[in-house]
C-alpha cells in the first residue's frame, strides 16, 4: 500500500494545475493570482508540517530535512516569480495563463526530482521539468531568437535525456535495481552508467564542459524565462545531483570523483573566461552562473565537513541575488523593447538610485566582496573544501573569483562612472521594485544580523 501522505506537496501542486487549467479559461488574471495564494499556502504547509509528511517513511531524518527545505525554497521562489512575471509578459504581449501552467509543471517536476529515491522517478521528474522549460524558452513565438533558443534547448536537452536513460539502463543491467540507495557493489558497467547519469545532470545544471547551450538559451529566451532557468529548476537539479553524490558515495569511487573534480575546475575557469568578453548582459550572467556552479559543485564534494548547510547557504544567497538582478533588469526597458547590452546600463546611477545601488550590492556580492552575503557564502564553501582537503580546487576557485570580479566591476563601472547614451525607460513595476530592494537588503544586512538565515539552514540539519 502506497502511503499517499508523503506526496501531499506534489498532489497540492497537481491540483493547483488542474484548478488553473479550468479557471484560466474564464479569468486569466485571477488564475495567476490564485497560484500565488496556492504557493503561499504550500510554503506555510511545508514550514509547519513538512517533516510530518515523511514521518511514516523509512527515509533518514537528514534527507527529510533536505526535502523539506528545498521544497520550501522552491515554493517561496515560485511565489516571487509569479509576482514578478505579470509586467514583463505584458510588455512582450505574452501575457497568457499557460505560462504559469508551464511554471507549475516545472515546479512539480522539480518536486518529484528532489524527493525521488528511484532513478526512473527522477527521470520522470527531470523530463517534466525540462519539457516545461523548453516551452518557456520558446514562449515568445514571434521572436526568432526565442524560437531558436527553444529548439536548441530541446534538441540538446533531449540528447542529454538520452544519456540519462542509457546510463540508468546500464545501472539496471548491472544491479537489477532502479533504487538510488541500493548500489553497493560497483562494477565497471555501473560506473560507466553512473557517469552518463552524472553527465546528464551536469548538462541540466549547465556545468562546463556541458554548458554550451546556456549562453544561447539565456540570451534568446524572454528575460523572465531566463530568470526561471537560472534559479529554480537549476536549484532542484543541483539538489538531486547532491543526493546522487551523497547516497551513492561517489566520493569513494575514484573515477567518478575524478570526473566531478574535473567538471568543477573546468566550470570555474570556463565561467570566468567566457564572461570576460561578453557584451550582452544575459550571456554574461549565463557564464557567471557557470562559475557559480563550479562553487556549488565544490560545496557538494565537501559536504562531509559541515553537512549540507554550506551548500544550501550558497544556493539561497545565489537565488536571492539572481532574483534581485533579474528584478532590476526586468524593470528596465529601452525604447525598442527589452534591453540587452551591458553598455545600455551606462549612467544608471543618474536615473535611478534604488536600482543602481541594488545592482552594486548584487554584483559585489556575486564577486564575493565582503561585507555582502556572497562573501560569506563563498567563505563557507571554501572553509568546507579546505577542511576536506580540496586545496588545489580552492585555489582555482578563489583565483577565478578574482577574474570574475573584473567583469562584475565592469558592470558597476558602466552604471556608476559612465554617462548614459541611450535613455532607459523605467518600467515602474512596483512588485519588481519591492523584490530587488528586499533582496538587496537581505544581501547587505546579512553581515550585521546573520542569525535568521543561518538558523534556517542550521535547524533543518540538526
Amino acid at each position: 500500500m502506497i502511503n499517499l501522505f508523503q506526496f501531499i506537496p506534489e498532489i497540492f501542486i497537481l491540483s493547483l494545475i488542474l484548478i488553473t487549467l479550468c479557471f484560466g479559461l474564464f479569468n486569466k488574471d485571477r488564475a495567476i493570482s490564485l497560484n500565488t495564494l496556492g504557493f503561499i499556502l504550500l510554503s506555510i504547509l511545508l514550514l509547519n508540517y513538512g517533516k510530518d509528511f515523511y514521518s511514516s517513511t523509512q527515509i533518514s531524518l537528514n534527507t527529510i530535512n533536505l526535502f523539506v527545505l528545498s521544497k520550501i525554497i522552491l515554493s517561496i521562489g515560485s511565489i516571487v516569480f509569479i509576482l514578478l512575471l505579470k509586467r514583463p509578459l505584458k510588455n512582450e504581449n505574452l501575457y497568457r495563463y499557460e505560462y504559469v501552467l508551464f511554471l507549475l509543471f516545472a515546479i512539480l517536476g522539480s518536486f518529484v526530482l528532489i524527493s525521488s529515491n528511484n532513478f526512473l522517478t527522477a527521470f520522470i521528474g527531470l523530463e517534466l521539468q525540462s519539457l516545461s522549460l523548453y516551452l518557456m524558452a520558446a514562449f515568445n513565438t514571434k521572436n526568432l531568437s526565442s524560437n531558436e533558443a527553444g529548439i536548441k534547448y530541446f534538441s540538446l536537452g533531449a540528447l542529454s535525456s538520452g544519456f540519462l536513460l542509457f546510463g540508468i539502463s546500464m545501472i539496471y543491467y548491472d544491479t537489477g535495481s532502479f533504487n538510488i540507495q541500493n548500489l553497493d557493489n560497483f562494477t565497471a558497467i555501473s560506473e560507466i552508467g553512473l557517469s552518463l547519469v552524472l553527465i546528464s545532470l551536469f548538462f541540466k545544471v549547465s556545468a562546463a564542459p556541458f554548458h554550451i547551450w546556456t549562453p544561447d538559451v539565456y540570451e534568446g529566451s524572454p528575460t523572465i524565462s531566463t530568470l526561471f532557468f537560472a534559479t529554480l529548476p537549476k536549484f532542484a537539479s543541483l539538489i538531486f545531483l547532491f543526493r546522487v553524490y551523497q547516497d551513492l558515495n561517489i566520493s569513494d569511487i575514484k573515477s567518478l570523483n575524478y570526473i566531478f573534480q574535473m567538471v568543477c575546475a573546468i566550470s570555474l575557469l570556463v565561467g570566468v573566461y567566457g564572461a570576460i568578453t561578453q557584451k550582452v548582459i544575459k550571456r554574461l550572467l549565463a557564464f557567471s552562473s557557470i562559475n557559480h556552479i563550479g562553487f556549488m559543485l565544490l560545496g557538494i564534494m565537501s559536504y562531509q565537513f559541515m553537512s549540507e548547510g554550506t551548500l544550501f547557504f550558497y544556493l539561497i544567497i545565489y537565488l536571492i541575488t539572481t532574483f534581485g538582478i533579474f528584478a532590476v533588469l526586468l524593470n528596465l526597458r529601452t525604447v525598442d523593447g527589452e534591453f540587452t547590452k551591458i553598455s545600455q546600463l551606462n549612467g544608471l546611477r543618474f536615473t535611478s538610485n534604488s536600482k543602481s545601488i541594488s545592482m552594486l550590492v548584487f554584483f559585489f556580492s556575486l564577486a564575493g566582496i565582503p561585507p555582502f552575503a556572497g562573501f560569506f557564502a563563498k567563505f563557507f564553501i571554501l572553509s568546507a573544501s579546505i577542511n576536506d582537503g580540496f586545496i588545489f580546487l580552492s585555489i582555482i576557485a578563489v583565483l577565478s573569483s578574482v577574474i570574475a570580479a573584473f567583469y562584475y566591476l565592469t558592470i558597476i563601472k558602466n552604471m556608476f562612472f559612465n554617462k548614459s547614451e541611450i535613455e532607459l525607460l523605467d518600467d515602474n513595476n512596483k512588485t519588481g521594485k519591492v523584490i530587488f530592494i528586499v533582496s538587496g537588503l537581505i544581501i547587505t544586512l546579512f553581515f550585521i544580523y546573520p542569525d535568521p538565515l543561518i538558523n534556517l539552514v542550521d535547524n533543518l540539519f540538526k
Binding site: 548547510g309 561585507p371 560569506f376 579546505i386 583565483l399 578574482v402 566591476l409 563601472k413 556608476f416
Partner: protein, 484 residues
C-alpha cells in the same frame, strides 16, 4: 569598561552615511552636505580621542574588548579590542578623514552627497580593520575598504581613472584571496579565529612558510612593496586629492599593520626565514623607486613613488624583528601618514588653482604664494627626515636597527635617505624658486581653511618630531609583545 566605544566608532560613520543617504539630495546644497559630513567625522575624531585617554598603558593585551558570537556554528565572533599598536592608527584615520572632507569642499562639485557617504563608509571600514582581533572580521573589513575606494577613484578621478581604479581593485583583491585561503586553513587548524590564540599555536614549518607567503601576498600589495607597487602611482595620480590623502595616509598602513599584527606573531619561524627576501625587496624598493621618483615630471607621481620608498623603510624596520626596528617602522608609518597626506594636499592646492600637476608648469610660486611655500617647506623637510620633524625619528631608528642585522642593509637604507632628500629638494626648488611664470601670477595664496588644516598637520609633525615619547609610550609595550 562596559561602554561599547569601539562599536560606536565603527557605527557612527555608517549611521551618518545612512541618514545622509535617506535625505533627499535635491534640497541639500553641497556645502550643507559637506558640513554635516564634517560634523560627523569631527565627532568621530573626538570620540576616538577617548581611546588614548582611557587606555591603560601599564597593562598587557587588548583593552575595550567587546565580544559577541556572530556565526556560532563556525566559531566566528565579533571580537574587537585595541592595544597600543592600533590606537595611533585609529587616531590617524579619524584625524585625516575630516581633513579629506575639508579639502574637497570646493573641488568636488558633482555628486557631493555620494562622495561624503563613501568617505564615511571608508572611515568605518578602516577603523574596523584596526580594532578587529578576529581573523574573519579583520578580513571582512580589510576587503570592504576596497569598495568605497574603488568608487571614489572611479567617479571623481582624473582622465585615466578607470584603468587606475580597476588596477587598484584587482591587484588588491588578487593578493587578498590568497590570504583568505590561509585564514580558512588557520581557522580549520586552530578551531578559532582569535588572534591571540593563533599566536600561541605553532604550525608545521613547511606549512608555516606557505601561510606566511599567502599573508605576504596580501600585505605586500597593500604596503606596497616592490615589485607589487605598480598600482600605486596610477591610483594616486588618478585619484582626487582627498582620495590620495586617505590612500597614502591610511590605506598603505593597513599592509604594514597586518605585518605587525598578524604575520610576526603568527609565523615566527617564517618571519626569520623570509627576512633576507624582504630586506632585498625593500632595499630595491627604496633605491629603485627613489631613482624613479627623481625622474618624474608629475608631482603626484613623484610623491607616490616616494611613498613606496618610505614604506620600504617600514618593512625593513618591521622585519629586523627588534624592538627598535619595529618602533622605528611604526613611527615611520604614522609620520608618513601625516606627511605624505600633507604633501598630496599641497599638490592638490596648486592643482585646484592651476589644473596641472606637471612640475615644469610651475616656477617661482613662492613669489605669489608665500604661505603655501612655507607649509610646503615644513612637509618637504619632514619627508626628507630633518631632525626635529617626525620623519627623522622613524628613519633614524630604522637605520640604527639595521646595523645589528647587516652593514650592507644600513648602506642601502642610508642611500635611500640621501636620494629622498635629493628628489624632495628638487621638487621644492623647481616649484617654488626660479622665475615667476606669467600664467601663475594670479594664483591666490592659501585660504583660511587650507591654512587651518595645514597648521594642524604641521603641528603634529613638529610635535612628534620634538617629543616622540608621546607615541613610544603608547606602542612600546604592545610591540615588545609581538616580537619573537
Amino acid at each position: 569598561m562596559s561602554f561599547p566605544i569601539l562599536s560606536l566608532l565603527i557605527l557612527t560613520p555608517i549611521i551618518g552615511a545612512l541618514t545622509l543617504s535617506l535625505s533627499s539630495s535635491t534640497q541639500l546644497k553641497n556645502k550643507t552636505i559637506f558640513l554635516s559630513g564634517l560634523w560627523i567625522t569631527t565627532g568621530e575624531f573626538l570620540l576616538s580621542l577617548l581611546l588614548p585617554i582611557f587606555y591603560d598603558k601599564s597593562k598587557n593585551g587588548y583593552q575595550f574588548i567587546e565580544f559577541h558570537t556572530w556565526f556560532d556554528k563556525f566559531d566566528i565572533n565579533y571580537y574587537v579590542g585595541v592595544d597600543g599598536v592600533s590606537i595611533p592608527l585609529i587616531l590617524l584615520t579619524t584625524f585625516l578623514v575630516p581633513i579629506c572632507l575639508l579639502c574637497s569642499i570646493n573641488s568636488i562639485q558633482n555628486r557631493a552627497k555620494e562622495f561624503v557617504i563613501y568617505f564615511l563608509l571608508l572611515e568605518s571600514f578602516i577603523i574596523g580593520v584596526f580594532v578587529s582581533i578576529d581573523l574573519v572580521i579583520f578580513y571582512v573589513f580589510f576587503e570592504a575598504v576596497l569598495i568605497p575606494m574603488f568608487l571614489i577613484i572611479g567617479i571623481w578621478g582624473g582622465e585615466n581613472r578607470l584603468y587606475a581604479t580597476f588596477k587598484f581593485f584587482l591587484y588588491t583583491l588578487a593578493g587578498s584571496v590568497l590570504m583568505l585561503l590561509a585564514i580558512i586553513y588557520i581557522i580549520s587548524k586552530v578551531k578559532s579565529g582569535n588572534i591571540e590564540l593563533i599566536s600561541d599555536f605553532t604550525f608545521d614549518q613547511q606549512i608555516e612558510l606557505v601561510l606566511f607567503l599567502c599573508f605576504f601576498a596580501s600585505f605586500a600589495v597593500k604596503v606596497p612593496m616592490f615589485p607589487f607597487h605598480t598600482w600605486l602611482p596610477d591610483a594616486h595620480v588618478q585619484a582626487p586629492t582627498s582620495g590620495s590623502v586617505i590612500l597614502a595616509g591610511v590605506l598603505l598602513k593597513l599592509g604594514a599593520y597586518g605585518f605587525i599584527r598578524l604575520s610576526l606573531p603568527f609565523f615566527e619561524y617564517a618571519s626569520i626565514y623570509f627576512q633576507p627576501m624582504i630586506f632585498a625587496l625593500s632595499c630595491v624598493a627604496i633605491v629603485y623607486t627613489s631613482i624613479v621618483a627623481l625622474r618624474q615630471l608629475d608631482m603626484k607621481k613623484m610623491i607616490a613613488y616616494s611613498s613606496v620608498a618610505h614604506m620600504g623603510f617600514v618593512t625593513i624596520g618591521i622585519f629586523t624583528l627588534t624592538q627598535d626596528g619595529i618602533n622605528g617602522a611604526y613611527f615611520q608609518m604614522i609620520s608618513h601618514g601625516i606627511v605624505s597626506a600633507a604633501l598630496f594636499l599641497i599638490v592638490g592646492v596648486v592643482y585646484e588653482r592651476h589644473h596641472t600637476r606637471m612640475i615644469s608648469d610651475y616656477s617661482g610660486v613662492t613669489n605669489v604664494m608665500p604661505k603655501y611655500s612655507f607649509f610646503f617647506m615644513v612637509f618637504m623637510l619632514s619627508s626628507v627626515g630633518l631632525p626635529g620633524t617626525s620623519g627623522f625619528v622613524g628613519e633614524f631608528l630604522v637605520i640604527m636597527s639595521t646595523i645589528s642585522v647587516s652593514v650592507y642593509l644600513t648602506f642601502f637604507t642610508a642611500i635611500g635617505v640621501i636620494l629622498g632628500a635629493s628628489y624632495m629638494l628638487l621638487l621644492y626648488k623647481n616649484i617654488n624658486f626660479g622665475d615667476l611664470k606669467s600664467d601663475i601670477k594670479q594664483l591666490a595664496d592659501l585660504t583660511n581653511i587650507e591654512i587651518f588644516y595645514f597648521s594642524c598637520l604641521a603641528f603634529l609633525t613638529m610635535l612628534l618630531g620634538i617629543y616622540p615619547k608621546l607615541l613610544f609610550e603608547m606602542i612600546n609595550k604592545s610591540i615588545s609583545l609581538s616580537i619573537i
